[in-house]
């Protein structure tokens, strides 16, 4: 855990009862902030990361030395303008960037938790992150924003804490994880578990890493973040540094080489068990369950103003699932805007330079902010 010693974190003393029944306390929650909190503490935004994200949304991630995952959207003068807003991002519990996760040392055994780590849910993640509001003494957030699993956290946050966010922007997400998405996550998990080095999840104490399994999981998932049209346009049938097919199982095609590369760099920054735990949390996500299948009821007590965004080529969290959230909110007369942005970049659109998307976020935030000032 030494590599995380210089990053910001709070130790949450308050016990958190997890959905699985276990209670945790004194657990670390790693976070990063961008911008300055104003004097009346009214400009705070909490952003939530997706499956493989972390608290380092903007600038350079000090651990991986790579660009933050939301550099296009977050920063000075950008859609989420850090000259104007104070942005809090934290690493979800179950993650591997300093928050309480399966590679933490279990004080009872003095060994990493591995698969003895409790199964966590989106609800648990959000409840843990809520402690940052107390830490920063923020009575009400100006906005909660997130894409993909981050969007699920936005929905869960508003449902759990109906009057703690003035506005909410769930992006490219769903209120209930679909069978297709559970299937795709299971594919990734089985790939990790099929790697001999996984060792039932106790690979760290044996100094092993299920890199191959994790890389394949990432390759499969990466395809789901793109669109057919986008892939065809970028790669087509182009060959990788060769004039003709080699009649072997080398990466003849650029797309193969690209995916192999994506898999190989991923294992350097992500923990296999975290991948299992976080995908599980996504699969368990069904905001309607507690409300007898009626999503509207999840938001009944909220006065949060929503803006929901989906992308035309996103087949992982398609417009129809985003629209279901809009319908649920309209059915109870809540304030909600919705746009489907044209983009051929698939689910990943929310992370990329998609001007209509970035403008939408920017204008919605700026107008809403003017209304409270």
């Amino acid at each position: 855990m030494n590599k995380f010693k210089d990053i910001k974190k709070i130790i949450v003393e308050k016990p958190l009862k997890l959905d699985c029944g276990q209670t945790i306390n004194n657990y670390p929650l790693a976070y990063e902030t961008y911008g300055k909190l104003n004097s009346d503490r009214s400009n705070a935004i909490m952003i939530f990361h997706a499956l493989t994200g972390d608290q380092f949304a903007s600038g350079i991630n000090p651990i991986t030395k790579k660009d933050g995952w939301w550099n296009y959207a977050l920063g000075p003068g950008k859609a989420i303008d850090t000259d104007k807003y104070f942005v809090i991002a934290s690493n979800v519990i179950g993650g591997c960037m300093g928050s309480f996760g399966p590679s933490d040392i279990n004080p009872d055994t003095k060994k990493p938790y591995g698969t003895n780590f409790p199964v966590i849910t989106i609800n648990d993640m959000v409840n843990a992150q809520y402690n940052l509001l107390d830490y920063f003494k923020i009575e009400k957030l100006f906005s909660v924003i997130g894409g993909s699993m981050g969007g699920m956290q936005v929905l869960q946050f508003v449902s759990n804490f109906p009057n703690k966010a003035l506005t909410a922007i769930p992006i490219a997400c769903t209120a209930s994880h679909s069978a297709q998405n559970i299937a795709l996550n299971e594919l990734g998990r089985q790939s990790i578990m099929a790697d001999r080095n996984w060792q039932d999840g106790f690979y760290e104490e044996q100094n092993k890493q299920p890199d191959k399994g994790l890389a394949v999981a990432r390759m499969a998932a990466h395809i789901t973040y793109l669109s057919k049209a986008g892939l065809q346009e970028k790669f087509g049938r182009k060959l990788q540094e060769r004039d003709d097919l080699k009649f072997s199982f080398d990466a003849d095609f650029q797309i193969e080489s690209y995916l192999r590369y994506q898999g190989s760099v991923f294992v350097d920054r992500f923990d296999a068990n975290s991948y299992l735990y976080i995908t599980r949390a996504m699969d368990y996500f069904d905001l309607t369950k507690k409300f007898g299948g009626n999503l509207s009821k999840a938001f009944e007590k909220s006065d949060t103003k929503f803006f929901i965004i989906s992308f035309t080529s996103d087949w992982l969290y398609p417009t129809s699932e985003n629209r279901d959230i809009v319908i649920a909110l309209n059915a109870i007369g809540k304030n909600v805007g919705f746009v489907e942005i044209s983009s051929d970049k698939g689910h990943d659109s929310f992370l990329l330079d998609v001007p209509d998307f970035l403008n939408t976020v920017k204008y919605f935030l700026n107008t809403s902010y003017k209304q409270i000032k």
Binding site: G333, G337, V339, S342, N359
Partner: protein, 184 residues
Amino acid sequence: MKKEFYNIAKLVTQNSKILDVGCGNGELMKYITENISKDIRGIELSKSNIQKCVEKGLTVIEGNAEKDLRQFPDSSFDFVILSQTLQAFLDPENVLNELLRIGKKAIVSIPNFGHWKVRLHLLLKGTMPVTKNLPNEWYNTPNLHMCTIKDFENYCKERDIKINIKNLKFHNFFSELGIFILEK
């Protein structure tokens, strides 16, 4: 802003809850937000128009009035506005029913096919009328169900839809546009 929009804006009351169906680039919504009521949102089909609404900081829902009005509960708005789009729907009767269900009042404007210029155009030229309010040719017009002010009044009468106010200082012959407040 179009004169029609000023006339529509005059019909909504202060701080009422309003839905603008087919809100276009948000011009009317912006005017109402700034001058009459902030509690207004729009539904729009065209992505480029939606971006224009977003840039104006308006609440807009991307959607199709023919199928997306059903998500709103009964009487959820004080006013539902439909400006010059009724004639372009596949099923205008259904849309009107929905407007009257979700709105306590519906403000509907229609281009009047009974206007004297339209009548004269057809009479003299023998071709489909092209006017300021009906700028398209027959082969590219989005208007599927043209009617006259008189047709619309008859329609409402047959269905016991109350016409509360019409803007019409003119009538079927002299108005290019009919603006009505309807109530069920």
